[in-house]
Amino acid sequence: MAGEASFEQPLVQLRTKIEETKKFSAAQKVDMSDMISKLEQEYTTIEQSIYENLKPSEKMQLARHAQRPTTLEYIAEIFTDFIELHGDRSYGDDLAIVGGIAKLNGLPVTVVGHQKGKDTKDNIARNFGMPHPEGFRKALRLMQQADKFSRPIITFIDTPGAFPGSAAEERGQGEAIARNLREMASFGVPIICIVIGEGGSGGALALGVGNRVLMLEHSIYSVSSPEAAASILWKDATQAHRAAEAMRITSKDMLELGVVDQIIVEPLGGSHRDTTLQAQFMKDAIISNLKEMLPMTPHQLKMDRCAKFRRIGQFMMIGSPNDNAVSSSTTNAKLQQNGLKVN
């Protein structure tokens, strides 16, 4: 195994110890099976406790793991007959976003996702999964096509964010993201979005306006990368771990805040340990969610999606003239607007 995160070091050490004991036992022809099984047991216990109690900053490491499966790997596992389609028809083909048509248990669907590279060369071609406007416009073109041919849309979200470059600005990065948000809200087909790694800022959300938003257990979703947040908040990007703790970026947080609808469990140690098993979990979740939505009319699907996002947000009205605007924020929400969520 390679690419262990720092919090996985106890496991690495223990694994080395087990291997050494095994070697020693074989070389010296001594029966040490008792000790080995004890160590194996200890390994399993430690492993479980580590992955169940990951801190947000540790999840961030897992979500960015170099071997974490990417969109194309999941597409190969979950769908059949994938036909990749290219280009935004106005500027170019952004390899940081991939998409096309595929079959899910025989049903044609449109699949779109951010694509990170698997090695340095690939990562440079894919721009580390950070799209330019033409990437978002390619995604929009494919989704509009799905809407036209009544195909459900499945998106995979995995990006540090939209690319922060001058060419991206010249071609309208903000407008490209904004238009995706507005148009995704208007489609009359089921949309399922799955955060598979890093859900970073507007670049992630540009593929994220779905009827159902699902999230892999150890993936993260945030308003900006923890590094960028730390540099905005404390002018120090090295405080990223601190920002990660404060910002609530884990799948559990997203479920609590009503941002995602369902968490898809990961194999022990993260999805890179068993891509096929992970893909099976995802396929099951996609199918069960899709089955619920297929009977809905285009209008219902659209309204369902708009209503889902309309509800997100927490605020309050100041109740009486004596209320202090700030101290009362922790008390209660006396006057809430219709259908607004207030904690």
Partner: protein, 311 residues
């Protein structure tokens, strides 16, 4: 009565914004704004506040003269920043404004370290409850739904309150069939509300898709600066996108881009003129002509049967 209640009468009546609110007092620049000021121009005011020195041409004026000129430098046409009240004041016909959801404040949903204190500080320093004021009024006799942001409040950042007020304003535009005008100025999403801030982008844009379906007119006016999550949602989605001269409009701020590409960017990068050249805007309009341009646009979209009959 608290100071807020004096500023924002609770009753929904047609109000005049008191004259003294048009002149904001000098206040310490908060940390959020400091970081943003590195990428955007900011008017420098002398401590005594009597003299205004234009940050572009460095000419000095009496502050009163500058304010009388709607905060535009009489010599070089530099456009200073307006807050929400100043903006509504110069845009709407006098006495026509009726505010929506004046009592709405943030609840610190994530219990974010330091947010409550910072929020209170901004409220005290600016007299605003959050970074936006929404409502309805008239422009040259045309009824409109209006929203105006204040950069001086928390860097104009969008959290749940801004998102909700925009969403509500769009709904009013849908129901009333009146045009919607949003004056944006923002550093982007509010970090302290994290993912909920991000989701306000989807919320406001989703409602704009409904407004578009109802064929409602939306004019977006981008003022200095409009960045990040606000430019990547409602601000860039106008049927007509207008910006004030010299306003910085973009997704990623200049400093971050310079760090990423390790190059110095040209001085005009992300200005309205730059964005106009790159096809992101319909027009750049001087502040003193803005009201009449808006009035003409509104008039253009009010085609009654009598207009057709008279053709």
């Amino acid at each position: 009565m608290t100071v807020f209640d004096q500023l924002f009468p609770r009753k929904k009546v047609y109000i005049n914004i008191p004259a003294e609110r048009r002149t904001p007092t000098v206040k310490p620049i908060a940390s959020v704004e400091e970081s943003l000021d590195e990428v955007v121009q900011s008017p420098k005011e002398l401590p005594n506040n009597l003299i205004y020195k234009c940050p572009r041409c460095t000419k000095q004026y009496f502050t009163k003269e500058f304010e009388k000129n709607e905060k535009v430098c009489p010599a070089c046409n530099f456009h200073g920043r307006l807050n929400a009240i100043e903006r509504i004041q110069i845009t709407l016909d006098e006495g026509t404004f009726e505010e929506y959801q004046a009592d709405m404040v943030s609840v610190d949903p994530l219990n974010f370290p330091g947010y409550k204190e910072k929020y209170a500080k901004h409220q005290l320093n600016t007299g605003f409850r959050d970074a936006i004021i929404t409502g309805q009024g008239e422009i040259t006799g045309n009824p409109v739904i209006i929203a105006a942001m204040s950069f001086e409040f928390f860097g104009g950042s969008m959290g749940s309150v801004v998102g909700e007020k925009i969403a509500y304003a769009i709904e009013q535009a849908i129901h009333s069939k009146h045009p919607l005008i949003i004056f944006s100025t923002s550093g982007g999403a509010r970090m302290e509300e994290s993912i909920l801030s991000l989701m306000q982008m989807a919320k406001t844009s989703a409602l704009l898709s409904q407004l578009a379906e109802e064929r409602g007119l939306f004019i977006s006016v981008l003022t200095d600066p409009t960045l990040g999550g606000v430019s990547a949602s409602f601000a860039m989605l106008g049927d007509v996108n207008i910006a004030e001269p010299g306003a910085i409009v973009g997704f990623t701020g200049r400093r971050v881009i310079e760090q990423t590409i390790r190059q110095k960017l040209p001085d005009n990068f992300q200005t309205s003129e730059f964005n106009l050249k790159h096809g992101q805007l319909d027009m750049v309009v001087h502040r003193q002509e803005l009201k009449s341009v808006l009035g003409n646009l509104l008039d253009m979209h009010r085609v009654t049967p009598s207009v057709v009959e008279g053709f």
